[in-house]
Amino acid sequence: MDRKEYDQLADELKPAGHKIKNAFYAFLYGGVIGIIAQGVLEFFMNFYDISQEEATPMMIITLVLASCLLTGLGIYDKLAQRAGAGTFIPITGFANSMTSSALDCKSEGLVMGIGSNMFKLGGTVITYGIVSSALLGVIRYVITLFG
């Protein structure tokens, strides 16, 4: 059996994916995280009587803390299996990537373990986040020169 034939055979037998179901759960879970975040934001704004701008970082920190706790308790990865992009895309996903990496490498110590591995997964987001913001900054500058 050649490789092409094999791929055909294997594709025929491939277990069905759940794209629509996954998209639905991602929408649902992502949406719920959004609603919770909004609730937390409103709470801070009203409770401390501060502006939205001041309350936003507090809301973000609260969500990150919750995500880290859920990761440590072994709940976040179970939620993520169902939620997919719903828990991956919000900032809670980034917090989970860092906490899980740190937890995983705890056994290798503070320096060679947690210190150097914490950004193992999140590092790529930071690297390309900075690169793309620098590029966008250049584009914006060029546009303002002509505009």
């Binding site: 491939k14 939620l79 990537s97 056994s107």
Partner: protein, 335 residues
Amino acid sequence: MSLRFLGNSLKINHVYIKSSGTVCGPLEHQGPLGACFDKSIQDYHYGEKSFEKAERKMLRDALDICLKREHLKYKDIDLYLGSDLMNQITTVHYLARELPRPFIGVYGACSGFALSMATAALFIEAGFMEKVVTMVSSHNATAERQYRYPVEYGAQKRETTTFTATGAVSTLLSSQPQPVRVEALTLGRVIDYSQNDVNDMGRAMAPAAFDTLMNHFQDLKRSFHDYDLVVTGDLSMYGHQILKEMLLRHKVDVVHYNDCGCMLYDLSSQEVFQGGSGCACSALVTMGSLYPQLREKKMKRILVVATGALLSPMMTSQKESIPCVAHAISLEAVE
């Protein structure tokens, strides 16, 4: 070419299974074969500071159970062979520090069980050794860490994924007659069908299992009908369906065939996706469930085709496809 080595296979006459020790993890204990294993651990840490140490402790337990059954001490063994999934086959090498006898580490990914058994059988069959112990282990968390993502990372696993079994198995092979013997073996070729999805091991490994099975049947002039059961190591539900279809298309009559990855867990109720994988998967099923059945003469002869995906995460990142291998051993109840 040697006269005894028929193609890729060899008939074995004087190698017997004397004793075994099996330790499984929590999910394997809850599975349909849970009661077959000598010991189970309820927590992935098993009282140790790291998962790697827990895996080693599990393997030490399996070895102790295996030797205690025959009232043997570490020093009574001629040679130890071991295999696991970690880089530098860490688990077995670090355990081997405690062994006062020579040690050979072999690596064949998830095919480690059959590979170490086959190698051990060759030493005994050649008359060099009398008692050889093989040890294999895998641990879900250590494998996840090394091959996939951090254990607690929230990545959605795909439907073709397999679940690395947690367990450790030690087997004592001997030249003294016992109720069950290693009767034949087929060594596998490394096969690569240009599959590069690390979340779909069954699909990558099925051609290797097919190659070894066909070679085994051809070399020894046998078929599925010569066995009471033929099991593949960890092709999982999807992979074993592919293999079946491949065999059917080559006009091979497939009977009494199953996959250890599908036998170790209850796929309908346990969250293991397509089924189990890892060195421990084929080892636990074979030594925990099938070997006692042979000993009690409920089965006459079985073939275990342990499959292994020889991937390196580094090569996968460099967009290379996955080389795979399968080694087969035939176990027989002695008359």
